[in-house]
């Protein structure tokens, strides 16, 4: 009986989290853009679109935390590290969500390569869900992504999560959802990017997102975004003092609630 009750609880949670797809986007930069980050190429791409870690010249380590809907039980912390190796890009990320009653852990390893003007990446994740009294379930999840910079002002990207349709429960056909997203990035001006993305989680209706990033003359970046369902505007700000990169993102929604995210990363420039 307890099993079924906890199952219900998990499915309730997954509705709130939109089927654990919330942890498919990390990094306050991504949050500030309403998670329309499939085309972006930064240290947080190890989570957002693994192909994006290609081309990062120096090793980067970043940490961050996400606070959702005023519920500490739904807050998550993560760490990401990216480094270039020969002609590949390598990345690792660790993520934890929840508390003693219910928690999720994820460790991912990714690798990228460039073919022509297309960057391709693949990642394997070890994903574990634990619920008190219920035990734990872990599986491997594979993801695959690509970014194509077709023109200086136009980039196209696509990503698929859970290629292998990992099974969540042994006795029922409850699977981790397959998520696909694809988007474009436009750069109409030097310091302005417009991002558009279509996001489809198998268990939920299709979602459209748009984000705008505006660089204020080298000082900071201002970000804003909108997701169409559930309708919510997002805002974010980013600073780049020296080797650090500090970002803050904020999702302004009354339903289901507000989301705050803060992340810092540090670049290790070679020769220092």
């Amino acid at each position: 009986m307890q099993r079924y009750f906890l199952l219900l609880l998990i499915s309730l949670f997954s509705h709130l989290l939109y089927s654990q797809s919330a942890d498919l986007h990390l990094g306050a930069r991504s949050l500030g853009l309403a998670n329309s980050s499939v085309t972006l190429s930064d240290e947080w791409s190890i989570i957002n679109n693994v192909a994006g870690i290609h081309g990062i010249a120096d090793p980067v380590i970043g940490i961050g935390s996400k606070y959702r809907y005023n519920l500490p039980e739904l807050s998550g912390t993560y760490l990401a590290a990216v480094l270039p190796w020969k002609e590949f890009g390598l990345g690792i990320h660790i993520y934890r969500l929840g508390d003693a009653l219910y928690s999720e852990h994820k460790i991912g390893l990714g690798m990228t390569h460039q073919v022509g003007f297309v960057k391709l990446g693949a990642k394997v994740n070890y994903y574990q869900i634990r619920a008190e009294g219920f035990g734990q379930q872990s599986n491997l999840i594979f993801e695959f992504g690509g970014i194509a910079e077709m023109l200086p002002w136009l980039t196209f990207a696509a990503h698929i999560y859970n290629l292998n349709q990992a099974r969540l429960l042994d006795y029922a056909d409850e699977r981790v959802p397959v998520v696909m997203k694809s988007g474009i990035a436009l750069k109409p001006e030097e310091n302005l990017s417009v991002l558009l993305e279509v996001f489809k989680d198998l268990n939920h209706p299709v979602q459209y997102r748009a984000g705008i990033e505006y660089g204020v003359s080298g000082l900071c970046s201002l970000r804003t975004g909108m997701q169409h369902y559930p309708r919510m505007p997002f805002f974010g700000i980013g600073l780049r003092p020296g080797i650090f990169s500090i970002d803050y993102g904020f999702g302004a929604g009354w339903v289901p609630g507000q989301i705050h995210e803060f992340s810092i990363s540090c670049t290790f420039i070679k020769g220092q």
Binding site: P188, E189, R231, P233, W254
Partner: protein, 705 residues
Amino acid sequence: MSKVKAIFCAFFLGVLMVCLPPTPLYGQAWMADAPDNDIEQLLNNFFPGPVDEEGMEDLYESLLLLYQQPIDINSAGYEELRQLFMLSERQISNVLRYRRAYGKIYSIYELQYIDGFERPLIEALADFIRFDQRTEKPSGILPQFDHSARHQWLMRYGRILERRRGFTAPDTLADGRLSSRYAGDPGHYFMRHRVQKRGDYSLGFTLENDPGESLRWNPSQHWYGPDFVSAHYSIENRGALKNLIIGDFNFQSGHGLIFGPLFRMGKGDEPVRTLRPAPSGFKPYTSVYEYVPFRGISASLSQGIWTLHTFYSSIRRSSSPMVEEATDSEGFLTGNLRSSGLHRTPGELAGRKNLKEESAGFSLAMMPGSQGNLQMGIQAVGTKFDKEVVPIRRRYNQFAFQGQEQINYGFYLNYRVGDLLCFSEWAANTRGGTALLIGMLGNLGRSIEASLLYRNYSPLYNSFYGNAFGESAGNSNEEGIFMGIKYMPLRGLTLKAWSDYFRFPWLRYRIDAPSYGHDASFVMHYDWGERLRIRLQYRNRERWRNIPGVFDAPLHTPLPANATSARSDISLAATENLWLHTRFRWSRFEQNATYSRGFLLAQDVEYANKQWMIAARMAIFDTDDFDSRQFVYERDVLYFFAVPAFHRRGVRYYITTRLHANSTYSFWLKWAQTRFTDQKFIGSGLDRIEGNTRTDVRLMCRIKI
């Protein structure tokens, strides 16, 4: 069939052959008379969505005034240049920057050198700016009638040809009383007279009588002939006295939380420039919307960086027809302070001008710095009624104004940095309500403009004269974030999108619970050299609404109601004077798993030369119900901006003609008819027409002296 095909082919080929972008001529001499068509066209291009008539008239008047007395591009400051809504923030900055760097701008050709000034923009601006310095200092209090003054009379008569129930003989009810009927005749009379010299003086009056209202003379009942009488006299620029108005006027200051403009553009087609704060100040009231904001005396004084606006007003208001007997001699029950302005039936007449409202207020503004980048002001208004106002208690108006007096006060702050304008306003009233509005707008790049606005109006906040940005009229009980973007990637192509996300913390009319909502719009606009104009729009709105339930249940259940609409407007110039417009509207309304759809298609032919204009339309519409009604702009007589709505099934056709007989006399005539296919009667109550046809006729005459 092949003959029809051949005609269509010939038509389209002909259209294609003449569709070559023409070369524009700079400094083309326009006719001395205002090109009404062009201003209407300009307005229609910039604000083609459904707008309220009274505001549109205000905007048209300002544009017309700008045309008559153009802005001096060399001396105009930021506030004055803002009146030219064709200019973005960056373009305005560039003009000021260019002037500082290179001095005077001598001719229209020189505008090309200003960054961001392309040919189409310069053409659009040409009639509204001037380069020479023709300034005569106005003096004296009395108006000087000379050739540079604009002096005109307008007279309009309108009528619905079919007989409405209100104009039939009354029935005798069971208790022997006669049933309610309209007091007057079915004609709609309007007259306006105005003498005006921009920057100097303005004198005018407006008379209006709605259909069903009778003419009478009864000064003790505040009835001076027609039902609505309004007048003003204003003088400007007498040294430190920038403005003095005696009569009817409106006041706008800050962003409209306390003193708002008549026309609130907000969420229409344009997501950026319409959010700009209107210039602060008093304007004579010349509209026919019968809720005159102020009637009394106003003055604006300016010295250095300080400007003081102050006024006193005493005006009588009508309350809406539902007036119940006072429970005691001190109390006074009234329905709604903003009544419809209609005084036709005994019920409406009983509520006519029975409430006296006195108000006095001020706004003190400061603009430090030589470039006018920082503007701030404080303002307040006190309002007092001669009776206690008690609204009829409903589910949603727990926090509505009740009492005999109220003071609103607040401040505003605008700051320009680069090409971005940051603005804010905060206001409060003596009942404990507060309102906050904060935002920014401007250029993010050469061809991209964006805007962002956050507002939070508490349920206890209300203002009698405010009209600030919001989802609903009346800036109360609302919190929301609005974001807009406008992108012009190529010449002639504009992409606009905006999104509004809001909630109502308390109940509202037809929403019996706190609720959320959102609204989004996407527009694509393409102009090809004055020959072709395409406009496509997609809009999606969601708000909650009560679903029909038990009539007198204490609370109904509100559910989300989603309305999606798409529209396309295509205008083709077959020849220089002949335009063809095709308009298409579609919408879908969905709530609680039931939905209704609506559709409208209209084809217009319009011919205009310097003297004549003839516009004709044929339209068909088919909507499931009132929720899926369709709005479409119609060419009408001068100053009559109607965007009528159509529902059910039927056909609509009209002919509008205009004749400029000579430089003094001009005439307009509109004949319009709607024929519903499935109805035996149209309308309800006293406006009910037996039959399925409704015909409107309007005749207007303008005399320019």
